[in-house]
């Protein structure tokens, strides 16, 4: 059914269609509207047989989720930013114990300095925690991928993180085609857990494992992610057969077939990139893009194949490893290690800085001329940076960087103490 609605409310309805049995809720911007929406659905009785548990922290949210999933309940929670850091230990425990929890991350920057706006540092901080990570380009994708996430998780006994850009998607009103309950009931069977905590048949879960078996347990976690490379597209196809939308899978491509320049990114910025590509295509430029939908597992073979005819690749990402560069670019370079082509890495959209078509055109001009640096920061104000470095050179006690930069750009009038 077509509706015009907020992304968060759409995700709440989609999660409800998957009939979760336990929802652990703790608010943090920008995902709060999702758990609020689910709270309303539970309270109004529209979502039945679901226990909605208000917890006291993100650590509690996922810890309760680990308990309920262990007890055999289909379990959902959502978080963002510092919230996912606070639950970090539980994030590893959920995957280590093989619990098919689904969690939304409303992608937001990580402080300090505190910043409520969008980038993808939060999800990326947990990229190696053993969860499957799926990134969404639109709210329609978020709806479809959330529903698929439960089936992927329960097929593999691996938790799934659905990543959607905070504010840009979570707070955007747009057209959503909401699947019908009957379709989802046909697509997603009731949860049949591989392991269950049951007082009648006591077992231990999450027991200590020593050097004699730890490698094997870890290897199996890797093995399941490799299995996911087959399971994710298969489940996307099953969903498409019932619902009629090809959202999901490992990657999506746009005008890549004859492309000499390929842009690789993930999340909502893909839409802006597509608009820029269309303008440049009209001028005869051979340019296309690849959206990474599954970042974990990383679709090495698919990316290698999609880039096989390209002359250059630009990886644009909303986070980076300080002291190295982009994590996505590192992964892409690994996938393309057998193909000698330049991979430019662009860090963009940090802490909510808009990624504009104008800046992308300028960037792609430099990329196609092969004049781009290997690691480039989009729209970085180099003068501001230079002035701060100069202050640090000249003054022994030059003050806190974040506050100095705010004063430098005139965002705060406060004088230096």
């Amino acid at each position: 059914m077509l509706k015009q609605m907020e992304g968060s409310v759409a995700v709440a309805e989609a999660v409800a269609l998957a009939r979760p049995e336990v929802i652990c809720a703790y608010p943090i911007t920008p995902q709060t509207h999702i758990v609020e929406g689910l709270g309303e659905l539970v309270k109004s009785g529209k979502l039945e047989n679901c226990e909605y548990i208000n917890v006291e922290s993100e650590f509690a949210a996922l810890s309760v989720g680990i308990g309920s999933s262990s007890a055999g309940a289909r379990t959902y929670t959502a978080t963002a930013s510092q919230g996912i850091l606070y639950m970090a230990e539980a994030v590893y425990n959920a995957s280590g114990m093989g619990l098919p929890i689904v969690m939304t991350v409303g992608n937001r920057a990580i402080g300090a300095p505190i910043n409520i706006w969008n980038d993808q540092s939060d999800s990326m901080s947990m990229r190696d925690a053993g969860w499957i990570q799926l990134f969404c380009e639109t709210n329609q994708e978020a709806v479809d991928v959330h529903i698929q996430a439960f089936k992927i998780a329960e097929t593999l006994n691996v938790p799934v993180m659905v990543c959607m850009d905070g504010f840009i998607l979570t707070h955007a009103y747009e057209r959503i085609d909401m699947p019908e309950q009957e379709q989802i009931d046909q697509f997603l069977p009731p949860f049949n857990p591989r392991q269950v905590l049951d007082p009648a048949h006591p077992v231990s879960m999450g027991a200590m494992v020593g050097p004699e078996a730890f490698t094997e347990v870890r290897y199996l976690a890797h093995h399941r992610q490799l299995q996911a490379l087959e399971v994710i597209p298969k489940i996307a196809a099953e969903y498409n057969a019932i619902v009629g939308r090809d959202n999901g899978g490992l990657i999506s491509t746009y005008k890549t077939e004859d492309a000499e320049t390929l842009i690789i990114s993930l999340g909502s910025v893909i839409g802006t990139i597509k608009d820029v590509i269309d303008v440049r295509r009209e001028e005869g430029e051979k340019i296309g893009c690849i959206a990474i939908r599954s970042f974990r597992p990383f679709p090495i073979a698919e990316i290698r194949e999609a880039c096989s005819k390209a002359k250059r690749v630009v990886v644009l990402e909303k986070c980076f490893a300080v002291g190295l560069g982009g994590m996505v670019a590192s992964n892409v370079r690994m996938a393309l290690s057998t193909q000698p082509l330049p991979v430019y890495n662009v860090i963009a959209g940090l802490g909510g800085r808009p990624i504009t078509q104008k800046s992308l055109h300028k960037l792609f001009n430099e990329a196609t001329a092969d004049t781009l640096e290997g690691l480039h920061f989009l729209d970085l104000n180099k003068e501001t940076v230079e002035r701060e470095l100069e202050r640090e050179r000249l003054e022994g006690c030059s003050g806190a960087v974040a506050e100095n930069i705010l004063r430098d750009i005139g965002a705060v009038a406060a004088s230096k103490v």
Partner: protein, 191 residues
């Protein structure tokens, strides 16, 4: 594509206004995308919200940098925010005010716009009268339906208001919207 940027202050419903615009467009079988640019989420702080309307899928996620219509819910923002940034020469400026352009100190900026493109509407006064609250958003989007011919019908705007605020509050806002639609007028410098 028709792009709208709404400038308001926290508590004035700028974000809800953009959302209702998008619902009104949806009800006319158009594609629409509304989203906010939150700063500090507090009453009185400057807030910007955006809405794009098109006949095909809207993919771009950048903020509205070159609006076709600018809705200014609080004219005191002219003194503190670069409200006019990117406004097209043939774009519309719709201001919630009972003052003249001279009194607002924007006659020069307004004079750069094409004739008939600057509109004023006493949306706050109408909201107080009909809704009992100084919430100008319904009146402002109704004024947009009046000023920007062919973009949205008032009926769709009214239906969107009812969807967003079911019941008495919605009906009161629909009355305020109708009054704003009727009283919105083209304004020009008296000089």
């Amino acid at each position: 594509m028709f792009q709208v940027r709404i400038h308001g202050r926290g508590g004035q419903g700028a974000v809800s206004g953009a959302e209702m615009l998008s619902v009104a467009a949806f009800l006319e079988d158009k594609h629409a995308q509304a989203f906010p640019s939150f700063g500090s989420e507090r009453m009185g702080a400057p807030v910007v919200a955006f809405c794009r309307i098109d006949n095909k899928e809207i993919r771009s996620r950048e903020p509205v940098l070159e609006p076709d219509a600018l809705l200014v819910q609080d004219p005191s923002l002219f003194n503190s925010v670069d409200v006019f940034a990117g406004l097209k020469a043939d774009g519309y400026l719709i201001i919630n005010t009972t003052k003249t352009l001279e009194q607002l100190g924007i006659e020069e900026a307004a004079s750069k716009l094409a004739p008939g493109r600057v509109w004023t509407v006493p949306a706050t006064e109408l909201a107080i009268q009909h809704v009992g609250r100084p919430s100008p958003n319904a009146g402002m989007i109704a004024a947009l339906a009046r000023a920007c011919e062919g973009v949205l019908e008032l009926d769709s705007v009214a239906a969107a208001i009812r969807k967003k605020f079911p019941g008495k509050v919605g009906e009161a806002n629909v009355i305020a919207a109708q009054a704003a639609f009727d009283s919105a007028k083209v304004t020009q410098s008296t000089k």
